[in-house]
Amino acid sequence: MVLAIKAENLKVGFLLEEEVLWAVKGVDLAVEEGTTLCIIGESGCGKSTLASAIAGTLPPYAVTSGKLRIYDRVLINGDVRNYNGVRGRITAYIPQNPGTSLNPFMTIEDHFYYVLKSIFGINRKDSRRIAIEALSRVDLDSSILEKYPHELSGGMQQRVLIALALSTNAKILIADEPTSSIDAYLKFQVVKLIGKLQRELNKTLIVITHDLVTTSTICDDIAIMYAGRIVELGGREDIVLNPRHPYTKMLLEVSPIPGIRKPLKHISGEPPNLGVEITGCPFYERCPYRIEICKQEPQIWEIGEQHTSSCWRAREAPWL
């Protein structure tokens, strides 16, 4: 059981003017090699920041504390960050919006060439070969290489991004909201593709998303994030069939699925903005199961094997 990613009380914030806005407020993670973890949350919960911390794409004005390790390399230790040799080689980041992530002035082949050249220093011929192989894995033809990004559909652009990540042969793939900029019915296709690739190539996959329904089909473990913290973490069946946090339960209830016409319940209020300071349980305002003790900061309780929840009422779970 090799741990690909291990985070200990990881905090990530951004330094603006004089104060720090903490986006990730203390996260513990242990991801086994060759598994898929889905980090699920809505906007402002800090999941993209967490992904950036792992992928090495944090801006220079970021502030960190705690520890983050990839295999045996320490990436983050307190406020010191060192991604040399890891970013791009061991971890590959698949960005969110293909429209803005691909350079409109370069052909797809150029994209592969510059990426591979900067990481491995190879020449055009080899990069073309690797590109064709990577593209074929995402069901794209080599004729794509001569095209410019705007000549491809959104779905194809997304697949090019995935192929770029695959071409680096990185062991850890981080997909940031892979389904967000795609039409609803294509979401499943993309997710299926990513899942298939993960299994075939035995990669460790982290998927950042707000779409619990679609991505739960491919993941082994799920982490639910709210207001900068992981409020529930566990295996897929545990989370979906035995949710031990009211927010998880809410996410399961509000996600609509075509053909299954259950009444769409909703909870009023909105998720807090990124970095807002909250005392006590961050879900208190919106939680229909809150009690007096929830005004205090909840700890992390173990519910089952590898299943933790950060809710005072996790054990009794009145919502089940």
């Binding site: 019915y185 075509p258 769409l264 909703h266």
Partner: protein, 269 residues
């Protein structure tokens, strides 16, 4: 007041529409017609809930522009209460178009940042020469969409995405339209707020009994806000009926592909 000449509020007859573009390589003297919508026949009656479903590029936005009087079709008729809006003088057209309340897609770009919510909501009333108690009307509509009363003194940038969406809905409803058209009401919002909007739409339907047209790419949302679904692909209407009918009996290749791409989820739940 326009006399209701037909039994439908909105009717599109054999509409072919698109844009006139200058092809990139030739001089712009030679402009060609780019046809986006073909043979569209579409009707909305009173108190109907309809969803227009299609992916990006299918022509949904063009269809909306045609209905809203912004894009004149190359051929065919667009009727509101039996009158072809593109053959009317501007004043009459505007009068008819007031029967439609439109909620645009992106709540973050659709509100004038220098105006308070009060002014934003007052505008449709101003435009149609409303003589009654404006403040009272605003108060009622704000309550209807579930916003707190103090929202009227705020600026758009102080509001979250979900609240801005509601302001847009309130604005569309304040002139008491007969049809409410919502353009991708859930796409820009988080999952937990999407449910709020969907439930709000249905609440409005129950209370006001107006017709609601929801344009979306998400079949799952469509099933909650519509009794009749119209599927558009490549500029043509390829399916029409209730969602159950369409899912059980798809006629078009497009729909068949869509259905096959959804996995069997009941294994998990």
């Amino acid at each position: 007041m326009a006399v209701n000449r037909g039994k439908y509020i909105i009717e599109l007859e054999n509409v072919i529409a698109g844009y006139i573009v200058a092809p990139p390589k030739l001089r712009s003297i030679f402009k060609t017609k780019q046809i986006v919508l073909r043979d569209i026949n579409f009707r909305v009656g009173t108190s109907e809930r309809v969803a227009i479903v299609g992916r990006s590029g299918s022509g949904k936005s063009t269809l909306l522009k045609v209905i809203l009087g912004i894009l004149k079709p190359f051929s065919g008729r667009v009727l509101i209460h039996g009158h072809d809006i593109y053959r009317l003088p501007w004043r009459r057209r505007v009068e008819l178009l007031r029967r439609i309340g439109y909620v645009p897609q992106d709540p973050f770009k659709s509100l004038n940042p220098v105006l308070k919510v009060k002014s934003i909501l007052k505008e449709p009333l101003e435009a149609c020469g409303f003589k009654g108690n404006v403040d009272e009307k605003i108060r009622l509509i704000v309550k209807l969409v579930g916003l707190p009363e103090n929202v009227v003194d705020m600026y758009p940038e102080e509001l979250s995405g979900g609240m801005r969406q509601r302001v847009l809905i309130a604005r569309a409803l304040i002139s008491e339209p007969e049809v409410l058209i919502l353009d991708e009401p859930t796409s820009a919002l988080d999952v937990s707020i999407q449910a709020q909007v969907v439930n709000l739409i249905n609440e409005i339907y129950e209370r006001l009994k107006l017709s609601i047209i929801t344009v979306t790419h998400d079949l799952a949302i469509a099933q909650y806000v519509a009794d009749r679904v119209v599927v558009i692909d490549n500029g043509r209407i390829v399916e029409e009926g209730s969602l159950a009918e369409i899912l059980n009996n798809p006629r078009s290749n497009f729909m068949k592909t869509v259905i096959s791409s959804y996995p069997k989820l009941h294994k998990l739940e």
